[in-house]
């Protein structure tokens, strides 16, 4: 039940885009067509689902205060927390590279669908943001952390596909010149964010 709760919360209430503005750069840049938006969204779900559990293990067995106690009592009061930024970003960059190579080897169709988006994802704020939120939320076990990662990814996917669909349609309407493109995308995202606010308070 807790898992379902975390999943729903991370999709609708703590949505990466509408509540925290994470991954906005690629969200705005790649949302002109629904097809490419779906590709990038899938890649984000995938990478979040893989990197969050890895970073969870790193955090709990290497970085957190007292996390090294499994190596011996002398190391019980070591706190490597200040290294977490470097570790997390290195893991993300490495995993993205590995995933790219693995997907290319084993599933050429998926690779041609995701291919160009995978390198972009290393610098997508929502991936590092997911890892840092995971650190802050301090999940009790790896299952919850993984579900959180997948849920955040799905939330991001929904957001980018929705805005891409709206932007495809809005091309046919008469938007004032200075608002065309970027300005309109910002305001639509704001309105969608207000709509998503109505989910707040849902608890399963």
């Amino acid at each position: 039940m807790e898992l379902v709760n975390i999943f729903i919360r991370s999709i609708f209430i703590e949505n990466m885009i509408f509540a925290y503005f994470l991954g906005m750069c690629s969200y705005l840049a790649v949302s002109k067509k629904v097809n490419t938006a779906v590709g990038l969204g899938m890649a984000v779900i995938f990478v979040l689902g893989v990197t969050i559990p890895i970073n969870y293990l790193l955090e709990n067995y290497l970085l957190k205060a007292g996390a090294l106690s499994w190596l011996g009592p002398d190391l019980a009061d070591v706190n490597l927390g200040f290294l977490s930024f470097i570790m997390f970003i290195a893991v993300i960059a490495a995993v993205v590279q590995l995933v790219e190579m693995a997907v290319e080897k084993f599933s050429p169709t998926l690779y041609s669908a995701l291919g160009i988006f995978l390198p972009l994802i290393a610098v997508n704020c929502s991936i590092l943001g997911g890892a840092l939120f995971m650190q802050e939320k301090d999940f009790p076990n790896i299952g919850q952390a993984t579900v959180y990662g997948l849920g955040s990814g799905v939330g991001w996917f929904i957001a980018i596909v929705a805005i891409a669909a709206i932007r495809e349609k809005i091309r046919y309407s008469n938007v004032p010149g200075p608002l065309r493109g970027l300005g309109m995308a910002f305001i639509i995202t704001g309105l969608m964010g207000i709509a998503f606010l109505s989910f707040s308070g849902i608890k399963l």
């Binding site: 509408f18 509540a19 925290y20 503005f21 994470l22 991954g23 906005m24 750069c25 705005l28 840049a29 200040f82 290294l83 977490s84 930024f85 470097i86 997390f88 970003i89 290195a90 960059a93 490495a94 390198p119 290393a122 610098v123 997508n124 704020c125 929502s126 991936i127 590092l128 943001g129 840092l132 939120f133 650190q135 802050e136 091309r171 938007v175 004032p176 010149g177 200075p178 608002l179 065309r180 493109g181 970027l182 300005g183 309109m184 995308a185 910002f186 305001i187 995202t189 704001g190 309105l191 969608m192 964010g193 207000i194 606010l197």
Partner: protein
């Protein structure tokens, strides 16, 4: 031969040439990182509910941008281009760790308020974007100026949004009351909507609208 060298010495550039000045002033308006280049929105909007965290965030980004640009520009000929993203990420991550530790030591309450968003300076697209687009191909001097210019352009929008949100959302600026009791007694109400996240997006949208109606050449062709 000797006269030539003397002439060359005499024609030495002034400290800031017009090109150098352009590096600083362009990002403030025509080439603003947020409203025109669309970089660095990720961690920007969430910290603009009040002016104070926005101020600290701007200083952090300014520091990381200048130092990152400088370091990458200094070692630009040593970085193999295949692994450059990882090298840049590690440099930036180290700089952000410094900022985070300084904030934790000297401004703990702000550091708590910014929470994960300090760490997110690492993937702030402004930093990576400027490293990729400018520092990798330019000498350290212009790279520093580019860092300053883009950092200021970013700070400008950030503070503008923060001032609007704090003023209309809670009637204060930097915690000082601007809209006094008398206005509230006359029936003025703080607009709670400005404190909610979606309003930041709408405000940036409006800023873009104003900027593009002043500067028609930035208008997109749909």
């Amino acid at each position: 031969m000797s006269t030539e060298t003397i002439a060359a010495v005499k024609e030495r550039k002034p400290l800031f040439t017009a090109k150098d000045r352009k590096l600083i002033t362009d990002p403030l308006d025509d080439d603003n990182p947020i409203t025109v280049q669309v970089l660095g929105i990720c961690s920007a909007l969430a910290v603009t509910v009040q002016v104070k965290p926005a101020l600290f965030m701007s200083m952090g980004v300014l520091f990381v941008l200048i130092m990152g640009n400088l370091v990458v520009s200094l070692i630009r000929n040593l970085i193999p281009s295949r692994v450059r993203i990882i090298v840049q990420l590690v440099i930036v991550a180290a700089l952000v760790t410094v900022v985070d530790q300084v904030l934790k030591a000297y401004a703990y309450d702000v550091s708590k308020e910014l929470s994960v968003f300090v760490g997110l300076i690492i993937t702030n697209c402004i930093v990576m974007g400027r490293l990729e687009a400018f520092a990798l191909a330019n000498k350290p001097g212009p790279a520093i100026l580019d860092g300053i210019g883009n950092g200021l352009g970013y700070s400008f929008i950030l503070l503008l949004v923060a001032v609007v949100r704090e003023l209309f959302g809670s009637g204060t600026i930097l915690g000082f009351p601007i809209i006094g009791e008398w206005a509230l007694n006359l029936g003025y109400k703080h607009n709670g909507l400005f404190v909610l996240p979606p309003m930041a997006l709408v405000i940036v949208g409006v800023i873009i609208w104003v900027q593009r109606s002043r500067n028609q050449k930035l208008i997109e062709a749909n």
